[in-house]
């Protein structure tokens, strides 16, 4: 069989620090091929037969977990799921004990979500197996950024020189952090916008502003983040109406961006809070496309993390 080899990939997807542009582009190209598999009547290929993948979710999430599990199953991997919201006090040791237990069952790759940053890095140090970060604290959510980039590329063709605005609660958002890391790697400029209390002091890869008009002006695409209502309780926002008045992305404000600029939202959405509800169904909304593309991107990540690696002997 002919083997035109792809660039070698890092043994984990923790964030994008170890990933180069050619690796990312190659992975997104694989994701495009996976879309074809998902368009078939029988959506299953034998590529990962014999591999066992564990989803380990220390923080509850249904949609991301389902997307990962389906992606693994469509590639014929066996999937086991561990979910448990741990108390924040018992962390370090509990994570380790859980993972060590799973390790004894012959897991080939771990898809981990945790409420604390760095758990995935630790897991790689402990286990030395492919680790896929499904979201760790506020730090990173790399597959979300990959599916956002993939969805943007589908619509815009290229991200070179494109301005992408991210609006909302930037401070607590691992989606914003991962996108600020990934999109510039593909040639885009990222502007992150929110009220001062919801902006970090510094966000590598992005220009920060509290001025919504500045962020949206001539933007090639707009990504809106969920406003978690519990932020109000912590005194980070004076009131919801005040946030809406200054930062809600509305049809009128979207006119500042380029015509037909695509609109993204990682979900779950608070309609009429961070975004005028009706926009979710507008022609430029890619919200549903993001969800569909999520599976293809996760299949591609699993392919690159597992194929060609030694199987676990547990």
């Amino acid at each position: 069989m002919s083997a035109s080899a792809t660039p070698t990939f890092p043994p984990h997807l923790l964030d994008f620090q170890d990933w180069s542009r050619p690796q990312i582009e190659s992975l997104l190209e694989t994701a495009r091929m996976m879309q074809e598999v998902l368009a078939r009547p029988v959506k299953k290929v034998p590529a990962l037969m014999g591999f066992t993948v564990a989803t380990v979710f220390f923080e509850p999430s249904t949609r991301t977990r389902i997307s990962f599990e389906l992606a693994a199953r469509r590639m014929s991997a066996d999937v086991v799921s561990f979910s448990g919201a741990m108390s924040s006090t018992a962390k370090g040791e509990t994570y380790r004990d859980t993972l060590r237990t799973l390790e004894q069952m012959g897991i080939d790759a771990y898809i981990i979500r945790a409420d604390a940053a760095g758990v995935c890095h630790q897991a790689y140090r402990w286990l030395g197996k492919p680790i896929l970060n499904a979201g760790d604290g506020w730090r990173a959510h790399p597959t979300q950024a990959l599916l956002d980039a993939f969805t943007l590329l589908e619509r815009l063709g290229s991200l070179e020189g494109k301005k992408i605005a991210i609006v909302g609660d930037i401070l607590h958002s691992r989606v914003a952090r991962s996108n600020a890391e990934l999109l510039p790697l593909l040639g885009a400029t990222v502007v992150a916008c929110g009220p001062a209390t919801l902006l970090p002091a510094h966000l590598p890869g992005a220009h920060l502003t509290t001025d919504l008009r500045e962020a949206l002006q001539d933007a090639d695409a707009v990504m809106v983040l969920r406003l978690q209502k519990e932020r109000m309780d912590k005194g980070l926002l004076p009131s919801l109406p005040e946030y809406i008045a200054a930062y809600q992305v509305t049809r009128a404000r979207l006119a500042w961006a380029r015509p037909q600029a695509p609109l993204l939202h990682p979900g779950p959405m608070n309609r009429d809070v961070e975004m005028e509800g009706i926009l979710a169904e507008a022609p430029q909304s890619l919200v549903e496309r993001q969800v569909a593309n999520g599976q293809a991107v996760r299949m591609a990540v699993l392919y690159h993390l597992l194929v060609g690696r030694k199987r676990s002997e547990g």
Partner: protein, 185 residues
């Protein structure tokens, strides 16, 4: 260990490739009793170019263009757990319904039979053809699976240490079949 390959000889030139493909096209029509219900699926990379040639030839002979698709078998390979190997996933595009069709699967070289096995699995996942034929430009022997071709451009006894390179105008700028020798240094 480095793999060095050196040119040995030209097995088929442009005219010989054309004649072989012309004969295969005629044999396909004869076997299928015309072009009704016929379609072609080319396997990456040279198989696609060869399938396109066969479709062109059949159009010339029969006055109708039969549908054609392209197939990548990467996700069906049986060696994906081999350490260090990570083949690139390429495009599969079958823009018509395979069900009830007579499919001619086209590849450049038939060797171990593993690519053909993977292609059969992939095709069967994509639909339910009434039958599947295998057409290859070169059959070089050394089968590892019980697979044979229905249409063969040229049977060519080879040694395992040799490499058969099929070149096409579309992929390589010329039509030819060459024999190369692998030396492990």
């Amino acid at each position: 260990m480095e793999r060095k390959i050196t040119f040995k000889s030209k097995l088929l030139n442009e005219d010989e490739v054309r004649r072989a493909l012309t004969r295969i096209a005629h044999e396909v029509i004869e076997k299928n009793k015309g072009s009704e219900g016929l379609c072609f699926v080319g396997i990456h990379t040279r198989g696609i170019s060869l399938a396109r040639r066969l479709v062109d030839l059949i159009e010339r002979f029969e006055g109708r263009r039969v549908p054609m698709g392209i197939l990548d078998i990467t996700l069906y390979r049986d060696d994906l757990t081999e350490i260090g190997l990570q083949p690139k996933v390429r495009e599969t595009r079958i823009p018509f319904d395979l069900s009830g069709k007579a499919v001619v699967l086209v590849d450049d070289v038939l060797y171990t039979g593993r690519t053909a096995r993977a292609a059969l699995d992939a095709l069967i996942d994509l639909g339910r053809p009434s039958r599947i034929y295998l057409a290859v430009l070169i059959d070089r022997g050394h089968r590892e699976l019980p697979i044979r071709a229905d249409f063969v451009g040229k049977n060519l006894p080879t040694a395992r240490s040799e490499v058969v390179k099929v070149k096409t105008q579309e992929d390589d700028g010329e039509d030819a079949v060459e024999l190369w020798e692998v030396e492990s240094t």
